[in-house]
């Protein structure tokens, strides 16, 4: 446990500004992706809200900062009020949190945890977005491609499995991974 805590702290320390920038820009593309999701109605809660989660493992501080930024920019989606909250991976997988329309990964996960999260998001037809490089290739639905310009990055296989309905516009301007 102590080891995990130490490793988490050290990861935070070495997280460079490039990764931070990816998280901030990724947050904006995440919001665009949420707007492009036409199947959002299934995720409206009984009290008429849409939930958006930021999942973290240990770094609550960063997750909270990102959640704060997102909630200030995304108060409504398709005229439906949005609630942004942070949740630990453990709580999310143990179904202790409320189900969300989209999940933003706010912490770098190892492969087994990431695979568990991908499996759960696909099963619940949720948008899973990771700003971290290489996560889309590991099965996360969306991320960002940073080349000569910043574009959304979509895993087409995960998109097909999750049966999400994303606007063709969004798909068209995205970089595609594992496209048939």
């Amino acid at each position: 446990m102590l080891f995990m805590l130490l490793s988490s702290i050290s990861f935070s320390l070495i997280a460079d500004s490039f990764t931070d920038r990816r998280a901030v820009v990724g947050l904006k593309l995440f919001r665009t992706l949420l707007v492009a999701d036409t199947g959002y109605q299934h995720h409206i809660t009984p009290d008429g809200r849409l939930n958006v989660s930021l999942i973290y493992l240990h770094d609550l501080k960063t997750a909270s900062q990102l959640a704060e930024q997102l909630s200030s920019e995304l108060t409504q989606l398709h005229d439906i009020p949005v609630t942004v909250f942070t949740v630990t991976l453990q709580d999310y997988l143990n179904k202790k949190s409320q189900r969300s329309l989209g999940i933003f990964i706010a912490d770098k996960f190892d492969l087994p945890r990431l695979q568990q999260l991908v499996k759960s998001s696909v099963a619940h037809k949720q948008i899973l977005f990771s700003p971290y490089e290489g996560d889309v290739e590991k099965g996360v639905l969306a991320g960002l491609s940073v080349e000569s310009r910043v574009r959304p990055y979509l895993n087409m296989q995960t998109l097909k499995k999750s049966q999400l309905k994303i606007k063709p516009f969004f798909i068209k301007v995205s970089k595609k991974y594992a496209a048939e």
Binding site: R31, A36, S148, R149, R151, F169
Partner: protein, 668 residues
């Protein structure tokens, strides 16, 4: 024929050089193509695409602003104006608009406008060479409003590509020009080198001819000397009165012959042309000769000479004794030459004998060590280089600088390697390992101590001896007559051919170098006549065997080098006349004496003790001196006859044993 061969050789050289250059050019041009198509062009294309994407992204800002700021009809006009402005922007380097066409695809779910009202398409949209980029247009809330498709010109890529390609082609042409110049220079140099090589070959042939002539001139008188000494050695009366003198003359002439051979060998520039002629060699006799020669040299310099040979050395081995002697003598002579005080040691170590049903082999290491001036470490590699000598007062005065080079080449020719270890001021050690076939059943001529040939079985054979030199003919006649051959002599080639018609010769001994009609002409005539073509013809030559082979000795059945060595002559006659020798067994005076030890008068005890002491110390020179004193005293003749052969043959252990036996017999 030689000229044609030379021309074709030069042509093939030129062809090989040209082919190498052609391959180099093909490789060079192929590499350039590879570099262009696999590296440069894709990189340029990627750079052009990146540039187009960045350009599209920056221009898309104008369109996003038009969406953001305006509404309704004004928005459409603002979009139209923004598109026109984008289409106007021109690249100054290529003087062409950056963007050739733009089309907008709007999400009317997000944008409040009539469907298709804002789907503007301007400029060239079916441009096949253009780089197509799609940029998402978003509002401030990151809502995806539309996709703008830009058809960006690839002119910059084409312009840059063409510019680099031109430079690359220019560089290639320049390099190909350089290649051609180098190719022509090399062809020219090779042609000149070829001419120089031919000149060297001509000069080398002239030198070889000169050496062959010198060799012949020097060997002819030696032939007479050695021939007569061989005959004298067979005459018991002469040997009884003048034995030591005859032995000395024979040994000196033999030594002189060896020196001539060695000088000729050293003079031979093309040492690769040396061939090995292995034969049966009595190893102990061979080593004794080397020891004796080195002992004389070392005694003159007042240094010790030691030799250590294992007791189980094979009696007869199959080896080119001339070449082995040349190597060992060169090493031993060097060791003596470069040692002022201390000792020189000649030894055979690591003797292993492998016997099998088919053949037996002996492997041994010959070592020559000295306590001489040694060789500096930095010069160790130079000592085997021709004409190179380590600088010192001795080498400045004498030596050709070829000895070690020839020794090294000869050891390599024998399948071995000459090693050296040396410490400056301490001495040197040279060694090499050789493997010989062991001769189990040696020819009787090899063991000549106890058996001697006295004739042959069957009818009398008639030998025709053709030689312009009277001495040589006389020696041959005397040699052959003692074995019962009938010898008919001819002083010239013409006379020999006439005699061949008159007598029924069984074999012809033919001198090669004769005035008017030489041996080659004679043998050609003999071979062309059906009546005589079956008669064996043995060439006698004072030239080197290699020189004769180079001249083409295919007409001869055998070649014997002058001075003729009797047992070589007998071996050749036996082979070509299919003879069976008659032998007489010689009684060893040594054996007889051993049986009658009690009758032998021995010198004083202190003299015998001194002899034993010298024998134990292997001091051959002191032994000889002491025995020489006894030889003149009639009382000790039997004693001398018994001990002298043992000392002469370096049988020191046996000598000590014999002396002790004599002492014990006397005591009894």
């Amino acid at each position: 024929m030689r000229l044609n061969k030379g021309l074709s050789g030069r042509a093939s050289n030129n062809l090989v050089i040209s082919l190498v250059f052609l391959l180099l050019v093909i490789f060079f041009v192929g590499s350039l193509f590879q570099y262009w198509y696999n590296v440069l062009d894709p990189r340029l294309r990627l750079a052009a695409i990146t540039q187009a994407e960045i350009l599209s992204q920056s221009q898309a800002g104008l369109l996003s602003k038009a969406f953001d700021v305006y509404e309704g009809e004004q928005r459409e006009k603002a979009l139209q104006a923004a598109i026109e402005e984008i289409l106007l922007v021109t690249d100054p380097s290529i003087k062409e608009p950056f963007v050739k066409g733009i089309s907008l695809e709007v999400d009317y779910d997000v944008v409040d406008a009539d469907i298709d009202s804002l789907n503007i398409r301007e400029g060239i949209l079916n441009c096949t060479d253009c780089i197509v980029t799609e940029v998402a247009l978003m509002d401030e809330d990151y809502n995806l409003l539309a996709i703008a498709t830009f058809n960006v010109t690839d002119a910059y890529y084409r312009w840059l590509g063409s510019d680099i390609k031109d430079k690359l082609i220019n560089q290639t042409l320049f390099t190909l020009g350089l290649f051609t110049v180098v190719w022509l220079i090399i062809l020219l140099l090779v042609s000149r080198l070829d001419r120089v090589r031919k000149n060297i070959e001509i000069s080398d042939r002239a030198k070889t001819q000169f050496l062959a002539n010198v060799s012949h001139e020097l060997r002819t008188p030696l032939n007479a000397i050695l021939g007569y000494t061989q005959l004298f050695k067979k005459d018991k009366d002469i040997m009884a009165s003048q034995g030591r003198g005859v032995e000395t003359i024979h040994r000196s002439a033999d030594h002189l012959l060896m020196l001539i051979n060695d000088i000729l060998e050293f003079s031979k520039v093309d040492s690769e042309g040396v061939q090995l002629y292995p034969k049966e060699v009595a190893l102990s006799d061979f080593l004794n000769t080397l020891v004796e020669m080195t002992e004389i040299r070392s005694s003159l310099k007042d240094i010790n000479f030691n030799f250590e040979f294992p007791p189980n050395l094979p009696e007869v081995v199959f080896v080119d004794d001339k070449r082995l002697r040349q190597i060992l003598l060169n090493l031993l002579n060097n060791a003596v030459k470069f040692t002022d005080k201390g000792e020189v040691t000649f030894s055979i170590n690591n003797l292993t004998i492998k016997k099998s049903d088919k053949a037996s082999f002996a492997r041994m290491t010959f070592t020559v060590a000295d306590t001489g001036i040694g060789i500096p470490k930095s010069k160790l590699n130079d000592i085997f280089v021709p004409y190179q000598q380590v600088e010192n007062k001795i080498t400045r005065a004498e030596g050709s600088g070829l000895g070690l080079t020839i020794s090294k080449n000869l050891t390599e020719l024998m399948g071995s390697k000459l090693h050296v270890k040396s410490e400056y001021g301490q001495g040197s050690r040279f060694w090499f390992e050789l493997k010989f076939p062991i001769v189990e059943q040696a020819s009787p001529l090899i063991h000549k101590e106890n058996h001697t040939i006295c004739g042959y079985e069957g009818r009398v054979r008639k030998i025709l001896s053709i030689d312009d030199n009277d001495f040589n003919r006389d020696i041959i006649r005397q040699h052959l007559m003692q074995y019962g051959f009938e010898v008919v002599e001819a002083a010239s080639g013409e006379e020999g051919l006439q005699l061949l018609e008159q007598i029924q010769a069984d074999l012809v001994l033919l001198d090669v170098l004769m005035p008017d009609m030489d041996g080659f002409a004679v043998v050609t005539q003999i071979r062309s006549d059906r009546r005589y073509s079956h008669i064996p013809v043995i060439a006698l030559t004072a030239s080197t065997q290699e020189a004769l082979e180079e001249d083409g000795a295919s007409g001869f059945d055998d070649v014997l080098s002058k001075p003729i060595v009797e047992h070589d002559l007998l071996a050749s006659l036996k082979k070509h006349l299919d003879l069976s020798w008659k032998h007489e067994v010689l009684k060893s005076s040594n054996d007889d004496a051993l049986k009658n030890l009690e009758n032998i008068k021995i010198p004083d005890a202190d003299v015998v003790e001194e002899l034993k002491d010298y024998a134990r110390k292997h001091n051959i020179l002191a032994l000889r001196d002491l025995l020489k004193n006894l030889e003149t005293d009639d009382r000790y003749q039997d004693f001398f006859q018994l001990t002298n052969p043992l000392a002469r043959n370096y049988q020191f252990g046996k000598l000590v044993e014999t002396l002790e036996n004599l002492q014990s017999q006397t005591d009894e």
